[in-house]
Amino acid sequence: MSVSDTYAKWRYRSVPDHLLGEVLSKNWIDNAIPFAFLLIVVALFGSLIPGFLSPAGFSDLARQLGEVALISIGLGLVMLAGGIDLSVGSTFAMANFVSLALINSLGWPVWAVVPAVLCVGALIGLMNGILIGYLRLRAFLTTLATLIIVRAMVDLLILSYAREVAMSMTMSEAWFYLGEGFILGIPVNFLLLVAVAILVHLVLSRMRFGWHILAVGGSRRSAYNAGISVRRTVCATYVISGVMAAMAGIFYAARLGSVGPDTGIGLEVTVLTACVLGGISLGGGRGSVFKAFIGTVIVLMVTNSLIRLNMPSGSTPLVLGMLLLLAVAVDIRWVKNRHKLLSRVYVSPTYFDLPEDPSANVDATSSYALNDKFRDVTAIGLGDLDGPEDMIFDSNDNLYTGGRQGDIMRFFAPDYTRSEVFVHLGGFPLGLAMDKDDNLHACVAGMGLYMVTPEREIKCLSDETNRSLFSIIDDSRIRMADDLDIAADGRVYFSEATIRYGVSDWAVDALEARGNGRILAYDPKDGSTRTVLSGRVFPNGICMVDDGESLLFAETWACRISRFWFAGPRKGQVEPVIEDIPGYPDNINRASDGTYWVALAGMRSPAFDLSLKMPGFRKRMAQRVAMDEWLYPNLNTGCVLKMTLDGTVTESLWDLSGEAHPQITSIREHKGALYLGGINNNRIGRYELPEADQTWTSQNEYWGRT
């Protein structure tokens, strides 16, 4: 092995390149930029200010966050729905004044003050909401007007009542608790903030109302056409924003007890800065609670820290402004390029060293010697079929096969000239199997594992497996169920070729040569599905071994067939059976003489084999060359092998001319004939096996029928 090979091997084994693409395809990655900013800010000030990360420092920040972040979340919601609320600062001031007036001058109890003030906030929000949502005024100008109006009202109130409010002081313990209390050392209002944040997050990500907000912000017209009440949704966001600002105002009032005239002045700019720094886009649709929160933390940290550093007063706005510019500039680049970057890095080839191709130097006596046995293969359903990847027989010898259109076709015995659409499943049925009661099981690409009873009743057996803990891709879904076989105890073992690609682009998986596939087991007893073996290279054909505790499976791009024990003393072990197949093994099925048929979907080529050792080359190819010019494994001409359980290949059958049956992805021996399927074919091939047992059927043997 050359040095560069060793390096490539080491490099691609140790660095999980594929994670980058997977992370980038996640929606939460949008939070990465603001989060990085936060880390930078914390690191910077943490090193500059002693005691910055102390509990006391945290508690001070948390107390303030419990006010400002509430408003940020409110404004964030408004921005998500495509609006803007400049009036939050005034609402905040109004709430502050009203709370103090109620509790100090009028002596209301706390439990009455809080809802009353929230109502005031809601009312101001409602005013905005009606004007902007229902009368469809422009948000910027309208809330600018309410900012001025509400501020003027606050000033008038202060002018008339400030003295009264200031002179009397409440002694309510509950009130002070709101402003100064702790639970487990954490400020009360911060806990409330966390609760609100979680609630709003849940609403946004999972609940109807949250989706409506996202939809209205993302595209007003689409939301309207989808039957969403745009006006109500827009209005509601302003009401929420008003309530949030009022809530913050209550905490502020409880903390400081001041009706000062400059309360909340310029707050809208602070909060807007926070939201934008967090990455909530103006104009709607993009953003999250987390972003609003992070943005607020950054703004407050910067403001407080610069003051603590005895910086002259110009520095805070200077730094905040620069930070805002930087954040927006980075965010714009990010939004523009994330998609591009994703498309560049998602395909992430790795190093794979295939054993030498045994057919490269064969002589006529080798079991891989070319022959033309398939020249006389006859065609079934020529032209009616579109992609019969696999076929299966029921106990009445009728033949079933799938097709690209999502139909399961039934060809009637004995001559298979008559056919009907058995059922329409949708998707692309790939692997088929029959249980002992003639229930047809099908692996459907994109959909999972399905069962069709003889009465044509369709049942979805499995479309979800267990989510593994450390996978970035949500691997609970089943995208590419490929082939299956049914164990004696009724459990269905099926392969999922790859979790990284879907029906339309599964071939790209070949470029990666990574173990992206897995084997799943469906247990009919409790209807559950578990992943039993993962990290395999495009696992494809599955075939039970007679011992009842193991199965054979083919890994297509790895050109090998392995045996997996799912029960018994060797449970969980995998042992290779053949590792140097000259082509790409697809389905495996039993033969009448106790051996196994293996379909090779295509033959290896030296060029592609070599490229597997050059991941960098494949990566560059995927990035720069048009998709249809990529180097793929050859999947045009293949053959059928016969092998024994110990891995000896005894025979191979070829179609040299490529006319009778161009591509073979599956084989099925049934009553002395070999049936051939192909994923790109428009027919099923039938090849007579004169020396085979003319009554043998796989099902009968397997299920012990005669």
Binding site: S59, R63, G179, S258, G260, P261, D262, G264, T303, R308
Partner: protein, 339 residues
């Protein structure tokens, strides 16, 4: 130079105890070591409204001089006019535990609770120029009510019909909700109530902004051709009023009475007739009061807030006639003065 001496003298008489100590620094007279030790290596924090105007700059300059002399560490937290930021800075300070805080209140309540908390946490607190409802170790600054009284009296004296005026005056307020504005106004109203012959034709507010003051004043002046006097509540804002008077070509005819910290431009304005009367609360003198209060509070072994006291700044009415060369100070004077 005389001004400085006079200011210093005033401060000395007000804080008699401190004056004695200052003279006796060479030997242990029973107080000197205590005096020096009580301030050496202490942490003093100044929380102004903002550092960008004359008053805090003078005070800070004074404190810095004193800090250099006595070896305490002075740091300044500048919230730049935001009471929210100021409150937050104060909160942070409470957990940082300096020895003394000098706080310039934006209004009477916003810091009140925090100041009480700070004292409870063992931090001594001096408030300056506006006292909050919470009482702390010391208050140094103006009695705004007095300022209002002086201004109103000056205006009445100039504009009353018996003095030959039309009896019509206008008032230019800052932010009406601002407490020093409110207190000053109530003083003015109280005084004017006793003088029914004076008519207030306009009492507008301009948010401490000279531009707004200018446009309001120019309208008022055009509306009231026989206006006699204008009372303004802050010299900076009143630059707008004086510009309006100048534009209307009524300099001297309309008399402008304002207040401020007594920096040089005020005297210039008096000299060129832009201001007719000026109530000065002498920020320079306040700086001396403040530094003395610091020394005094720090020497006290009592718990914070146990023996509060106040040093109300003596105020001075200046006019073109009563003004002398040393009536106003410059930053240079402050920098050169001992504290």
């Amino acid at each position: 130079m005389k001004g400085i001496l006079k200011g210093a003298l005033m401060a000395l008489t007000l804080a008699g105890g401190a004056a004695q100590i200052a003279q006796a620094e060479q030997f242990d007279d029973g107080l000197a070591p205590h005096y020096y030790n009580s301030l050496k290596d202490k942490k003093v924090v100044f929380l102004p409204l903002a550092m960008s105007f004359d008053l805090p700059q003078v005070w800070a300059e004074g404190m810095q001089t004193q800090a250099d002399r006595l070896g305490y560490e002075l740091s300044i937290r500048d919230p730049n006019w935001s009471s929210d930021v100021g409150a937050q800075a104060l909160t942070t300070l409470i957990s940082e535990k300096p020895d003394l805080m000098v706080v310039h209140n934006p209004d009477m309540q916003v810091y009140a609770r925090l100041l009480a908390r700070a004292q409870k946490a063992g931090i001594k607190v001096i408030q300056i120029n506006l006292k909050s409802v919470a009482t702390t170790d010391a208050y140094v600054g103006v009695n705004w009510y007095e300022v209002g009284e002086h201004q109103a009296t000056m205006a009445i004296n100039a504009c009353a019909p018996e003095a030959g005026g039309s009896g019509k005056i206008a008032i230019m307020q800052g932010t009406p909700t601002n407490p020093n504005n409110a207190i000053t106004m109530s003083a003015i109203e109280d005084v004017l109530a006793k003088h029914p012959e004076i008519e207030v034709v306009s009492s507008q507010s301009a948010d401490w902004d000279a531009t707004k003051a200018h446009s309001v004043a120019s309208t008022v002046i055009k509306q009231n051709p026989d206006l006699c006097g204008y009372i303004g509540l802050w010299e900076v804002m009143d630059a707008g009023v004086s510009a309006a008077i100048r534009e209307a070509d009524k300099v001297g005819e309309i008399k402008l009475f304002t207040n401020g910290g007594g920096q040089k431009p005020a005297c210039d304005s008096l000299a060129n007739g832009a201001f007719t009367g000026y109530v000065s609360y002498d920020a320079f003198g306040q700086a001396r009061d403040l530094t003395n209060a610091i020394a005094q509070v720090m020497q006290s072994d009592l718990a914070p807030g146990e023996a509060p006291y106040a040093l109300y700044t003596p105020i001075r009415d200046l006019t073109k006639d009563t003004m002398r060369d040393d009536s106003c100070w410059t930053m240079d004077d402050v920098a050169k003065a001992p504290f």
